[in-house]
Symmetry: C2
């Protein structure tokens, strides 16, 4: 299993998240771009993930909700600035803190031997907004989500018919 | 005439641009959102401004070019994350430096007495990319563009028939 590295340098509005996966870039890309796959891994296990829109193209909008058993929901939305096989750039807004938007870049780096490094770079509109995101427990949610992605990629890697 | 204040704090990826105009918010909003008006003020006077797309809505894409007499062109594009009467949030990419995207917020603040403050807040994906934008002479282009916007708003404020 890989290790999720989360870096949020003091006094900057940046968050870096790096993680390696035992799967080729094309498969990781599918897990990021197909809503039926996305909802199986993005976020903590305890939430139901409801993908309302995930329109992966320039100008395409996205929106999803994390729901718990008690009927609470946390919604997020944004738009895709650009989408390529190796890089996606999109905006991100948590609807619980409306008006605070961040810009996220996700790079899929081919490590060879069927392995991929996923490199996330996010920038917030203020250092305070970045700090609030870090303090929200974001790192734990991302780490758990990436463990689920590991499991999903392992499943998808099994040739059909086995 | 107003004064354009450009602030780019050392060691941050931010640029702030503030400017006041002798026109009500609704008129300034029109000048920002209608392509036929936009092309009359955005950027230095020496360039022809060609607006290819300016689709002001969530997920709407935009692209324009500045062209000089020698046949050179500088193109920019992005998408709108959100659009409201008092705030627009959009991505921005100069095609001469592809892959470097910034996130821009424009706020139209009603100062009363038919005056408006326009507050721009941009954040870049790195301090280096922000510094490169500052060094490109961006402030001069913005300042000249806002002088042109002053002139356009004065024209638009004249009641029809005069």
């Amino acid at each position: 299993m890989g290790t999720t590295e989360v870096t949020a340098p003091e006094g900057t509005p940046f968050i870096e998240i790096n993680r390696e996966f035992d799967a080729p870039p094309a498969l990781v890309y599918r897990a990021y771009t197909e809503p039926e796959l996305l909802k199986q891994w993005l976020g903590p296990r305890k939430y139901e993930m409801v993908v309302e829109r995930w329109d992966v193209r320039e100008g395409g909008a996205w929106r999803y909700e994390h729901r718990d058993d008690a009927g609470n929901a946390w919604a997020f939305h944004g738009v895709f600035h650009s989408v390529a096989r190796d890089t996606m750039v999109q905006t991100f807004e948590f609807e619980g803190a409306p008006g605070h938007v961040s810009l996220e870049k996700v790079v899929f780096e081919d490590l060879g031997n069927g392995r991929t490094a996923v490199r996330n770079h996010s920038v917030y509109q203020s250092i305070e907004a970045r700090d609030a995101m870090v303090q929200s427990g974001m790192a734990e949610g991302v780490t758990e989500g990436y463990e689920r992605l590991d499991e999903l990629l392992a499943q998808l890697s099994v040739p059909a018919g086995r």
